[in-house]
Symmetry: D2
Subunit: 348 residues, 4 copies
């Protein structure tokens, strides 16, 4: 079978680099171009040293982009929406990894992002990029907007319970703990190693933009509220969402097991992790580094109607590049797991 | 002035070692004996290598304990309550750092600890050991029960708002992130470095025993619920409590500032940390290593009545040995800050 | 093509687990049995949680072992030599990952290991397991003894220069920095997270047993001395060897480049890493986690005849399981890179 | 007793901040001014958040400096030598923490720093700032040049053996492992947390400038060579020097003990750490965070004349601010330990 020609716009960042790594080993894809304005003409392994000996590809400028089958956009916020017409001319299929086309409602976008969307007319052309919720749409889609990392972990952890209408609408509290790679590859005062090491840093206690995606995907016609906070910890890769939700009716853990099985038992990248013994009784992001898994566990509070749902991902994989590749596979009719088989390391 | 003679029962653990370090530099205390059954006869610096050159003290057996002015108990769970009569004969004043005498209600004790208390008759003899809430009682007390680390951070963060009756009674969610020293100095499968490094481990999503202390101290006659979870992270020392509470009335941040000032402006070990710029905008436990501070910050959610209160301590200091020494100072009429002046390191 | 039937003896440790991970994804191997006496009957993913959903295999007892094509031994020190006859009956080909059959000389074995070898008659039956030095022998071998991790990094870094006779025989100093996974999966007082975190621990300043392998492989008939030290750092996976050697003649860096190219330009798992700019100018073990690469760099001291050679590996991969699989591929005529294509993650 | 008035030039960096922390708690010093051009007019606790509640001092510009008793210079390389006349007018005593006045020989300075010294006439006015070697000179000195961190650990580890003439002159190899705070407080691409975490980075395998100080202090009239390398590890604070030296005569460990005792038994900040059992058998920098100790241990190789000397410090304390304060105490006739009593934390 002929390989699909794919290109990555904005490939010098962490998400772009991760996507490139995956695509270089994908049997049905041929990486044609990868762009970076800062590194045009340089070998990609100078920026992504894990790709030494894996490729002799060099960065191009976005102005040099040629037509391809699928175009991945890994650009900074607002760049995709401003240049989307150019990109649509270059490729029939686009997967955007930025936040630009995640929200379906321009007013919500403005509420959370603080400015008008440049192309609200296109918002409904993009399928929201979590396959476990939108697989059938993806199969027919030309445009996919990859989900945020915090949103992915939260939504996948909570989806079955919200879909079943079991959750009190205004009480859910989500606390995400996340590593430093989420902040991208630009050094700043706060990312300086002596200041960033050993931190437990409340970097976004309220008003995190990913909240909007979570609400969008979990509402199902209801008016829901989600109370979201994010804390940065001393980790490079990995994200754990601890979700405290309150059940409308009295469910036991075996009932909850059944619900998760109903939704996820056939999902290749979801694992329910809930052990009674051992060290890894609940999801643990370090086991997921480099994998596309979302591990989900839960614990019912015996003293109240609270259910704690724990959800872990690699923020650069299931939270970004891996999930984008999963969408790519679905969109193009490949086995969904292609190029995403790496099981993770232990210990790490 | 003559120094008080003090001894520490159970001084080979992390809490006992930290307390010993503090007492060795306390101008009004003379450490008479420190006990350890496993290390009887050995130099304490063999177990606490930071005390090399600081002391030539050796461990004694508990059976060799002599009378002293103040006895500190740093024993495993249930040991204090079982041997309390013996200890009371040895010293007129006791500070217990275990959980044995924290709860005032034997029924609550049984609910959370799963067994009957050995000496419920003594529960009301002990003052609960957070000075900011019980300073006046401490001045007259002979027996103090030092508070749990998770409870200290949570209670201090929430106290002014609960005391003022501003918090919805059943909605507060507390998420504590904590380092490995909280688990004590005994190696186990889960504390093995390759398994414990890089973790974001939900070790107690529900039913943490410290919840009982938090409820006890924040109830003020009302029936309140607190939804508590604890997550272990890759840190040795330090604890951050992220408390999500829901305000009964619409308060702005400046109103909340006033309330915290009212309660804490004269407190030597509480700092309100809430900056608009810079890296350290909210409390950060790494800055507190070795200090007795509890740093508290907050952020009001503009989109709901949620207030996020962030509270940081060193779990071995304000969460254990430091707070016990603060109580010791109060109990004996010393300046409360004596021996607790270390300001912390930056960077670390 | 029919798959080879392989079994792993001692598969509950880190090396055995890593090997199992690799073999599960190897297209020419079928994992038949994996043994563990402590976990007999349990799912392997209970011990190796990264293998959840990857396999439903359970541990067997060594007494249940059946015949297979290739047997991997991941046993503690001395176990292989004591039971080697049993294992030889079970499989025509054996790859031993312990230190038991690495040294060719029983006297040297006794000098470094402190006891007589149980089966000195077999020492010359095993090929020393570094393919870059012994590939041709491996192609014909039935028995391979996988090299030590510290030895692998040191030998590969130094081999071309010693082979060319360029190094002063008695002056080389090797300083290895290594992560905690090297110590295996058994928790002990020294591996307890609060004690093992943040360390720079001189755990073996002299007399490290791997020194014997290094001397054996680099002697080429001469009488050489290697001054080896090992320091444990706060890392789980990864090893960096800094080798200080003294050149017999005045070579410039371009001459040294040529020598490394001569030996390694066709090697699939060796990369010469020596950049003039950027962050990753020299080999960096964190980029190698999960890969089979050995990255080698060097720097000539302008002020003396010292050459600093820097060599990095993942101690569980090129330092253990990966290199064993590479040997397996060679021994069985497969493409040497099969199952070892993972390029590593960045950032991590 | 009246307090000495002291000021710090360049107090916004890590060394300046650490020195300020120490001076604020020094009973014989009053901090008059601290300068920073970037932060003039701002509270120092905005930059050094550990000093919240400890001081209300604000940064001044260097142009606002007033006369004082002792002036500390914590400026970037070359600034001290260029402005030294101005500083000498402001204070009769100066302690310079930069590298500007460490070397006694202008030619050596040029060899290692690559440019002519601006004021070679002043090089012999400064006492090299390691008290253990130059205490008597310090007592009479007006100008002290504080030693480099790598040099301090190396020199203190090796001094007794070199002074006794026991070391082969051209063979010593020193490998220093160091944390990120050594690089200062300016963020750069290489200090970005995702890139700097988990590293074992050979950042200076040859030609480290501190080599010149080591040679200067250990020569004792002989022509010696020291082979120095530095590796950055994932640690914020702390430095371990592993020194491999070769003895001219056959000494046993008990002989070496005697030599170290002869030189260091009365030293308040040197501890010989060499245990036969336990976890902390050799010096460990993490135990020294915040302390002024230099811990020294050693191990004789039974198979050769190599002696491995292991030396640990906190690079910001004994490697910078602490040692400068020790010099300040000596220079001014105070008890040498004043303000430096902090024993360090365990665990950390």
């Amino acid at each position: 079978m002929e390989k699909l020609k794919v290109s990555i716009v904005g490939a010098s960042g962490y998400t772009g680099g991760e996507l490139l790594r995956l695509l270089l080993f994908h049997p049905n894809a041929e990486v044609k171009q990868v762009t970076s304005e800062s590194y045009t003409g340089k070998f990609v392994y100078k920026v992504h040293p894990n790709l030494r000996k894996a490729t002799q590809l060099k960065f191009s400028s976005v102005s040099e982009l040629e037509e391809c089958d699928v175009l991945f956009l890994c650009l900074p916020h607002k760049s995709s929406q401003n240049k989307i017409d150019d990109f649509m001319k270059l490729a029939p299929k686009i997967i955007d990894l930025s936040a630009d086309f995640r929200l379906k409602d321009g007013a919500e976008y403005k509420k959370w992002y603080g400015h008008d969307h440049a192309r609200p007319d296109l918002l409904d052309k993009f399928v929201y990029g979590i396959p476990e919720l939108h697989r059938e749409e993806m199969k027919k889609a030309n445009y996919i907007s990859s989900a945020g990392c915090n949103a992915t972990a939260s939504i996948l952890g909570l989806y079955p319970l919200y879909k079943e209408g079991l959750v009190e609408e205004d009480r859910t509290v989500i606390e995400v703990k996340v590593g430093s790679s989420e902040g991208g590859n630009k050094a700043n005062e706060g990312s300086h190693h002596p200041e960033r090491s050993n931190v437990v840093r409340s970097y976004m206690p309220t008003r995190h933009r990913h909240t909007a995606e979570i609400i969008q995907e979990l509402s199902f016609g209801k008016n829901i509220t989600v109370h979201f906070s994010a804390t940065a910890i001393d980790l490079v890769r990995g994200l754990l969402a601890t979700c405290h939700l309150f059940l409308k009716e009295n469910l036991e853990e075996k009932d909850i097991w059944k619900i998760y099985r109903k939704y996820y038992s056939d999902e290749p990248f979801i694992r329910i992790v809930k052990e009674n013994e051992g060290i890894y009784r609940f999801p643990e992001p370090k086991l997921l580094a480099g994998t596309n898994y979302c591990d989900i566990g839960f614990k019912k509070d015996e003293l109240s109607n609270r259910l704690v749902v724990i959800s872990a991902i690699d923020n650069l994989m299931k939270g970004a590049a891996g999930q984008a590749l999963q969408a790519f596979n679905i969109m193009n009719g490949f086995d969904e797991k292609t190029g995403l088989e790496f099981p993770g390391l232990h210990p790490i």
